[in-house]
Amino acid sequence: MSDLSVNIGDLRLANPILAASGTFGYGSEVARLYDVNILGGIVTKTITRAQRPGNPPDRLAETPSGILNSIGLANVGIDNFISDKLPFLRSLSTSVIVNIAGESIDDFLFLIDRLEEHQGIDGYELNLSCPNVAGGLDFGIDPKLAGKIVKETKKRSKKCIIPKLTPNITDIAVIAKAVEDNGADAISLINTIVGMSVNVSTKRPKLGEIMGGLSGPAIRPVALAMVYKARKAVKIPLIGIGGISSVNDVLEFLITGASAVQIGTFNFVNPKAPIEILKELEQYLETNNFTSVKELSGSLITR
């Protein structure tokens, strides 16, 4: 048996296949179909200070090899998360990463402080793809702000802090470097890419919010290039996200330099995709005589 475990900072994941935020609910939904403990980890839907109803419909539109969404971070809020969702997550043996977002650095710290009072959480993913109300810009495109959030959250928790970067930026390497310099344990990338689609017969945008986030296989080459750029810029582990649908896609990200990956949109296409891909990854490692999946990470040959 090849060793599937990977290390993300101090966090040891049983395998490199995780479920991405916003595409796996709070874990219990998919547990109706299979034992989610098989996964390397679960990243929760983004949790905010207050409950968020989300954006008006329509929130989804299919595009070539992808989907656009304008969910609007609909979530139960921190109180309901702790009382209703965390007990199930805590009962799991797989790693649980809670994804959080706020409109200010204070919001992020408030959320970490609340979550630190509870058992069953293995790390935090910081969703930086959201507007900073004070500054107007997304946290994820301002290296100073992104760095500051990481630095402050690191002071509040000993657990793994993983900023999740937005691709809607000129140079991802700058942000990657800023969060590494401020103590990030790892980096997740990428979140969705800004996109839009129009219904020609009604002349209306397909999404209620007009623009939304593109995900799915359509964005995979973009995500891969960003992992490549970030890999060259930083030393901390990278978690690759974007359009993963098969073991081949996972291998692309690992070879390019990711230590682990998250599966997002494909949970909607085939809810069992993560465990099917994990099985194929195991077979691949066996067949190709890898003693550990870690050997693959960053094995890209560029000349």
């Binding site: 219990s28 109803p53 989300g54 329509d58 929130r59 989804l60 969404n69 909607f268 296409v269 069992k272």
Partner: protein, 270 residues
């Protein structure tokens, strides 16, 4: 959400595909686990292609199941790419199906049923009629569609011993009117309100009118809605419809795939 509610996903073989009209197909698939437990009003997600186009599975109401033979039947109209691909599937081919999804009609204490269905909303009503003991109820059926071709299963319904009215937008079958017109006539004639209920599936404008009539004539109603879906199991938050009032828990929207597709009369803003 009811986590204990069983859910299955499997590759299902197409046993029988029947073209009902130029754009309508009825298909029977092998799915024994689902056939044992599904209920009228529930739906399935069918992934019509292993490729990226179309990427997402599509929701279809369950038309019927055969628990003994372990089969599931759906009826669909060609709208776009997914339904087009599905229509071309050959007997013996397989597709991935996930289900059963969603909730079911609640018939407790009801004696008088007004069944109102339009277009692709007809299948759940057909399924319901297959599962209930019809003589125990006083049933009035109202079926509407754009054209005769879209009045699916009209012969099967015609053979049922219940009161029925058909209508089409173009008058090619039944009366040339909206189905809610004969419904209102029937409601005007009177009924025992404590034991009556309207069950309705169909396009949003039809459901909005059914909701209005049910409120006006003070009769209970259960309305089954359709929205655009991605996952079908509550993990994407995409399939929302706005809820009335209920500001107490700041719940503005409901997830149709897990909390619906069937809602009581006053719950939704249609």
């Amino acid at each position: 959400m009811n986590v204990s509610h069983p859910l299955f996903q499997r590759s299902c073989t197409l046993l029988k595909s029947t073209q009902l009209s130029s754009k309508t197909y009825q298909q029977e698939y092998v799915f024994p686990e689902l056939a044992k437990i599904s209920k009228p009003g529930q739906f399935v997600q069918i992934r019509v292609s292993a490729e990226y186009s179309p990427l997402l599975p599509r929701p279809f109401s369950i038309l019927n199941v055969n628990a003994n033979q372990g089969t599931l039947t759906v009826l669909f109209k060609i709208f776009g790419e997914a339904t087009e691909i599905l229509s071309r599937k050959l007997e013996g081919e397989t597709v991935e199906i996930l289900g059963p999804l969603g909730n079911t009609f609640e018939l407790n204490r009801i004696k008088k049923l007004f069944l109102v269905a339009g277009g692709v909303g007809i299948p759940p009503i057909y399924y319901l009629l297959q599962t209930i003991d019809m003589p125990r109820y006083d049933i009035s059926l109202f079926l509407g569609a754009a054209t005769k071709d879209d009045l699916f299963l009209r012969e099967e319904f015609n053979n049922m011993d219940i009161e029925k009215s058909f209508s089409t937008d173009d008058g090619s079958y039944g009366t040339k009117t909206l189905i809610t017109v004969p419904l209102e006539d029937a409601l005007k004639r009177g009924f025992s309100s404590s034991k009556a209920c309207i069950l309705s599936c169909g396009p949003m404008p039809m459901l909005a009118e059914v909701q209005r009539l049910a409120q006006k004539y003070k009769v209970e109603a259960q309305l089954s809605v359709e929205t655009i879906m991605a996952c079908g199991i509550g993990i994407c938050q995409g399939c929302v419809v706005p809820l009335h009032g209920n500001t107490k828990d700041a719940k503005k929207y409901t997830l149709v795939c897990v909390d619906g597709p069937i809602y009581s009369r006053d719950e939704l803003i249609l």
